[in-house]
C-alpha cells in the first residue's frame, strides 16, 4: 500500500510544542477576526471563529508539506482564512485593516489572487469539487500531498456537495480530506431548525468515505487528523469537527445571531482582551 508522504510524527517531533504553537496562532487569528468585525462593514464572525482552529491546524500541515493544499469551501468565513494565512506566515500583510476595503483583494469571500487561496469560494458547494479535482491532479502527477476541503454544516444542504462526494468516493480520492465545521448554525438560524443534518458520520460512510469525529477546537485532535497516514488510492476521509459558533468570544458563543456581526472599536478591544 502506498501512502502519502506524511507518516506518523517523527520521533523527534515535539507534539506538545506543535500544539502550543497552534493554540497561540489560533488566539492571534481570533484577535484579527475581531478586528475585521470592527471594520466599517463587519464580517461573518460566528462561522469564522468556529472554523479558526481547523484552518490553523490544516495550514500547519500545508506548511510542512508543500504538496498539501487547503480549500475553504465555506467562503463566507473569509475573515478566518485571511487571519489564519497571516498568522501561519503565508500572507505577509495584516488583513484586518484591509478587509472589505476598496481597492484591496480581502473581499468578504475569498479571492484567488491572494497568496494561499487557490480557488474563489463562497458560493457554497464549489470548494469541495475544486479540491477533488486538485486531488485527482495530484494523483495523476504522482505528487504526494493532502487536499483539505473545509465545509460548513449548513453548506451540506447544497446538492453539489453530494455530487462531489459521490465522485470523490467512486474515484477513491484517498488524499482528499473533507472537514465539516459542525457549528450548527447558518444564515437564518439553526441548522436543526431549518434543514437538519442528522447522522453526518453515517452519511459520509454511506457515500464510501472513511469518517471520524473530532473536537474542532482541540488542536491536538486536529493535528493528529491532518498528519495521520492516508492511502492515496483508498477512500477519502470525512472529519466531522464539532465546533461552537462564535467560539472564544463569550458574548456571541453559541448564538445563531453571531453569523454576521459588526461592532465598534471599544467592544473589539474588550473582546480581544478576553478572547480565548
Amino acid at each position: 500500500m502506498s501512502v502519502l508522504s506524511t507518516g506518523p510524527a517523527p520521533a523527534t517531533e515535539d507534539t506538545d510544542r506543535v500544539v502550543a504553537e497552534l493554540t497561540e496562532r489560533a488566539l492571534a487569528a481570533r484577535r484579527l477576526i475581531i478586528d475585521m468585525a470592527a471594520g466599517p462593514r463587519g464580517c461573518h464572525l460566528g462561522g469564522s471563529l468556529s472554523v479558526t482552529d481547523i484552518l490553523i491546524a490544516a495550514l500547519h500541515r500545508a506548511g510542512q508539506d508543500e504538496a498539501t493544499r487547503v480549500v475553504l469551501s465555506k467562503g463566507h468565513a473569509a475573515a478566518a482564512l485571511y487571519a489564519a494565512l497571516h498568522v501561519s506566515g503565508v500572507l505577509p500583510e495584516n488583513p484586518a485593516p484591509l478587509y472589505a476595503e476598496p481597492g484591496h483583494h480581502f473581499t468578504g469571500h475569498p479571492n484567488h489572487v491572494l497568496p494561499g487561496v487557490l480557488f474563489p469560494t463562497g458560493s457554497l458547494g464549489h470548494g469541495l469539487p475544486y479540491a477533488a479535482g486538485w486531488a485527482l491532479a495530484q494523483r495523476l502527477s504522482g505528487t504526494p500531498g493532502l487536499t483539505v476541503a473545509v465545509l460548513g454544516d449548513g453548506e451540506l444542504q447544497e446538492g453539489l456537495v453530494w455530487e462531489a462526494c459521490q465522485v470523490a468516493a467512486a474515484r477513491r480520492l484517498g488524499a482528499l480530506t473533507v472537514v465539516v465545521d459542525r457549528n450548527g448554525g447558518q444564515n437564518d438560524g439553526l441548522v436543526a431548525d431549518i434543514s437538519p443534518l442528522p447522522n453526518l458520520v453515517e452519511r459520509f460512510t454511506a457515500f464510501g468515505f472513511e469518517a471520524t469525529e473530532v473536537d474542532g477546537h482541540n488542536p491536538s485532535e486536529l493535528h493528529a487528523v491532518f498528519r495521520a497516514r492516508r492511502d492515496p488510492d483508498g477512500p477519502p476521509l470525512a472529519v466531522v469537527a464539532h465546533t461552537v459558533k462564535g467560539k472564544g468570544v463569550r458574548a456571541v458563543e453559541g448564538k445563531a445571531g453571531s453569523h454576521y456581526v459588526s461592532i465598534d472599536a471599544a467592544k473589539a478591544a474588550k473582546w480581544k482582551r478576553f478572547v480565548k
Binding site: 464549489h126 475544486y130 495523476l140
Partner: protein
C-alpha cells in the same frame, strides 16, 4: 433543408423500438452506408473525440471527462484509459473538478449535452472558467434543438446568451469536421477556457476551403455566386443549422453574400464586426438560438451604423416530436424564413 446525420445515436439513448423484425446485420450496414455521405465526415462530437484522442498522444496534459453521456465506446477511453474519467451524472462537479485539474496544470476537456453544461452548470462556468480563468474546454453537443424528439429538456437555445455573458470564455460553434478539429487543436494548445457548441449527429461536410489550419474570425463563403461588396445583404451564419440554411439560401439567391462565424464570444465578435462592416451594411444573422443574447443581438450593438436582423429560433417552447428539421419547422427556422428575412433586410 436536410441536415445529414448518422442513422442512429450510438451513445446515450436507445432508439425507439423498431416496429418490424430486427434488421439483419447486412441490411443495417447497408442502411448506415446509405445514410452516410460519400465522403464520410464525422459529426461534431465524433470529430471532437477523434481529434482529442489524437492530440493526447503527444500531450500528456490532456484529460477527457464525461458525465455519463460519452457512450460505451469512447475512442479516448480506449486509447488513453488512464486519462479518461466518466464521473457519472454530475455535471456541476465535473466542471468544478476540471477547474481543479486545470489549476494543477492539466488541460481537461469535459463534455456533456449543452443544456446541462451551459444551464445546469452555469455557475460553475462563471466561477471556474470565467472568474478563475481555469483552462477547461467544455464541448457541448445537443445545442439548439438538435435533440429533436427527446424534447424540450434536451434542447438548448439559451447557451450563447448565458456563456456569452461570461468574460474570458472563448465560444466556438464549428461547422463541419475540419472546423471542429481545428477548434479542438486551438483550445488544447491555448489552455484557455472554451465553450464549444455542436449538434447531435449532424454531419455537415464543411465550408471550402476546409479549416485545416487556424479558423479565421470571418470565413467568407467563396461558393455559390459572385456576390461581393455590391451584395445588398450579407448572410452571417452561426453553427451547423445556421450555416446549412445560409448555404441553401445562397444557392437560391447567388446575389447574397455569406460570412460564416465560428468563434462567437464578445472578443471575436468585435473583431468580426469590424471586418463585416468594412464590406457590407445590411446583415441577416441566421442562428439556432433565442433572439435574446444571440449573435445577431451582439453584432447589432457592435455595428450601430449597419442594419442587423436575425433569423432565429424565436421565443416559443418547441414541444413536438420528430426529427431535427421538424422541430426547427415548429420554431419557424427554415429556408423560407431565411429568404423572407433576407428580403426584409434588403428593404431596410
Amino acid at each position: 433543408m436536410t441536415l445529414t446525420r448518422l442513422p442512429a445515436d450510438r451513445a446515450e439513448h436507445p432508439e425507439p423500438a423498431a416496429s418490424a423484425e430486427p434488421a439483419s446485420l447486412e441490411a443495417a450496414a447497408a442502411e448506415a452506408a446509405a445514410a452516410v455521405p460519400e465522403a464520410a465526415v464525422l459529426a461534431g462530437r465524433d470529430a471532437y473525440r477523434a481529434e482529442l484522442t489524437r492530440l493526447a498522444r503527444t500531450d500528456p496534459r490532456i484529460l477527457c471527462l464525461e458525465a455519463d453521456l460519452g457512450g460505451r465506446s469512447h475512442p479516448f477511453a480506449e486509447e488513453h484509459p488512464d486519462r479518461f474519467f466518466n464521473l457519472g451524472i454530475a455535471e456541476g462537479a465535473m466542471i468544478d473538478m476540471a477547474a481543479g485539474l486545470a489549476m494543477a496544470g492539466y488541460r481537461p476537456f469535459v463534455s456533456t449535452f449543452a443544456p446541462f453544461a451551459a444551464l445546469r452548470a452555469a455557475e460553475s462556468l462563471k466561477l471556474g472558467l470565467g472568474y478563475l480563468g481555469a483552462g477547461v474546454s467544455v464541448v457541448a453537443p445537443y445545442a439548439g434543438v438538435s435533440g429533436a424528439w427527446f424534447g424540450t429538456t434536451h434542447h438548448c437555445l439559451e447557451d450563447l446568451a448565458v456563456v456569452g455573458s461570461i468574460p474570458g470564455v472563448t465560444i466556438a460553434a464549428p461547422y463541419g469536421e475540419a472546423e471542429m478539429r481545428a477548434v479542438i487543436r486551438s483550445a488544447a494548445a491555448s489552455g484557455r477556457p472554451h465553450y464549444i457548441r455542436t449538434g447531435r449527429n449532424a454531419t455537415p461536410v464543411g465550408l471550402h476551403p476546409a479549416a485545416d489550419a487556424a479558423v479565421p474570425v470571418v470565413r467568407w463563403d467563396a461558393l455559390g455566386g459572385a456576390a461581393g461588396a455590391e451584395a445588398e445583404v450579407c448572410l452571417v451564419s452561426v453553427g451547423e443549422v445556421g450555416t446549412e440554411l445560409c448555404l441553401a439560401a445562397r444557392a437560391m439567391r447567388p446575389e447574397l453574400a455569406h460570412a460564416h462565424l465560428c468563434y462567437l464570444d464578445q472578443e471575436h465578435l468585435a473583431t468580426a464586426a469590424a471586418e463585416l462592416a468594412e464590406r457590407h451594411s445590411r446583415f441577416l444573422v441566421v442562428e439556432e438560438h433565442r433572439p435574446v443574447g444571440g449573435v445577431a443581438a451582439g453584432l447589432a450593438l457592435l455595428m450601430p451604423r449597419c442594419t442587423v436582423i436575425g433569423a432565429n429560433a424565436g421565443s416559443t417552447w418547441p414541444s413536438g416530436g420528430g426529427d431535427h428539421e421538424h422541430v426547427l419547422a415548429e420554431l419557424g427556422l427554415d429556408l423560407a424564413a431565411v429568404l423572407d428575412a433576407a428580403d426584409r433586410a434588403a428593404r431596410h
